[in-house]
Amino acid sequence: MKTTYREALREAIRDAMNRDDRVFLMGEDVGSYGGCYAVSLGLLEEFGPERIRDTPLSESAFVGAGIGAALNGMRPIVEVMTVNFSLLALDQILNNAATLLHMSGGQFPVPVVIRMTTGAGRQLAAQHSHSLEGWYAHIPGLRVLAPATLEDARGMLWPALCDPDPVLIFEHNALYNLSGELADDAGPVDLTRAAVRRPGTDVTLITYGGSLAKTLTAADELAADGIDAEVIDLRTLRPLDADTFLESVRRTHRAVVVDEGWRSGSLSAEIAARIAEEALYELDAPVRRVCSAEVPIPYAKHLEEAALPQPASIAAAAREVVRGG
């Protein structure tokens, strides 16, 4: 069946609502507006306002309410418009959702799912464009997902809802219109493993989310150059499936990490550190990282493009580790 990333997400919500009547969706403009990225369009008509709940503009209150409802037997899906706005609810996510189970000595698991948009590329400037999923991946107690394909858009929500602990799902804004074929019987996917999206032998390109497509484009460019790149999609940013990328690096002996987050103190730093800790002697070249420039993402198109990882910069980094610059 032909579908889009947006429709696959919607189908996943619909499926979860039908499977389990404890599931409900809440967030700003998810109902009568149809969702700020139209993910929930039509669901209000289908499930009614009890289960597709428009909330006031109050991120801390409704994310916290999602946590409370999860503590008390429901299975909420909370939508936050973008990761930048999730900072208004960061206290609830970190100090409550991620912490209660441990702090209560194992008594209070928090089975909430929080979805949000992330990433740049649409000239929305610095307060709408950041990639802060790496910050969330820093937090023990959370599972952090980054669906980059139609299968994952369709398949990650149900296992996330089945997880007894809080799960954050990051949807890169550039992906919503991604279209392609999805199997008619597509359903839940494994959340524990990274995926090899393109096998190769010369260099391992490790990425996720909105950067996957750019990395695959770079791999095609490299192939034309005679460099056979393997592309790994992390899929789950916490807990990291290090085995998959370490196994790959042990074969290719070279690694480039591609991450739209900033470089310093980041997820890309974590991956590079894991490689250094576990596979240093397997490397034929230092690990390289292609990240966003360390600036608030600007509005002007040429500046925004210059600030973000691009196929050309990814390919250049890969050539450098393969051929030494």
């Binding site: 503009l57 400037a125 509005y299």
Partner: protein, 317 residues
Amino acid sequence: MKEHLDLLREMVRIRRFEERCAELYSSAQIRGFLHLYVGEEAVAAGVVSELDPQDAVVSTYRDHGHALARGVPMDAVMAEMFGKVTGCSRGRGGSMHLFDASHRFFGGNAIVGGGLPVAAGLALAHVMRGEPRVVACFFGEGAAAEGEFHEVLNLAALWRLPVLFCCENNMYAMGTAFAKEHAAGDLALRASSYGLAAWSVDGMDVLAVKESARRATESIRAGGGPCLLELRTYRFRAHSMYDPERYREKAEVTQWRHLDPIDRLVEVMRPEFTDDELGAIEAEVSVEIDHAVATAETADLEPVTDLTRFVTSEVSP
């Protein structure tokens, strides 16, 4: 009459500027999010006309009207929309993030409610430095549901901070109607429960807005503490250029269009005010807009090598 003319000119400038922006958006010369203020011009024109140059203004992502009324040059605002280095934020902010230090315009802010705490801090500095200034802080009725609103109103009232809170109640927060956002309908009453003077104003009547802003700023300058105005208004156009407006009836929009603040002021100014005079204002404004577009089109982009400038200050500690 001079006062009326100034208010009319300001509203026409804002209206026509934004109409041109909508066209430029359709032709892809402006990108990103574009939130138009069409219908709400009386609020910016009326309130800002009561501010002194040394007062400060804090705005939202729907900031063109506030910036233009404040005197941020139209050329610089248009260039910003084009992402050019001559823009008032060097092209880095775009429509939602207009800034101009020389006009004490502390920015369009795209985080709903994000400007309120900053306004309190600006006012705190005015107090601590003994300056009799007012900070005008604009935000929507949707923002009144955010924690910031409640925290800041309490703080400002507690410390008697000289802030004029301007709540632009246009009845919708994106697609969420007022009644779906707020359990209690009276925003002025809610604000006054924090211990500050607050009242509602017909935000489609620029003279009423101006009169209320005058009373409020006088009281604030006299040391009476913060005030809140609930300005009842309406946006004639979509929330942003992406909004298909599924959440409201066309008839409702039409009804509000009958209250167009520009038409209403012209009505008041008749019969002395003639069509020729109105035509002259339109012509003057159209020249200004053409100039802004022409200069924005030919202006330079910021060199990519400057991308990392101003992440931190260029003066060493």
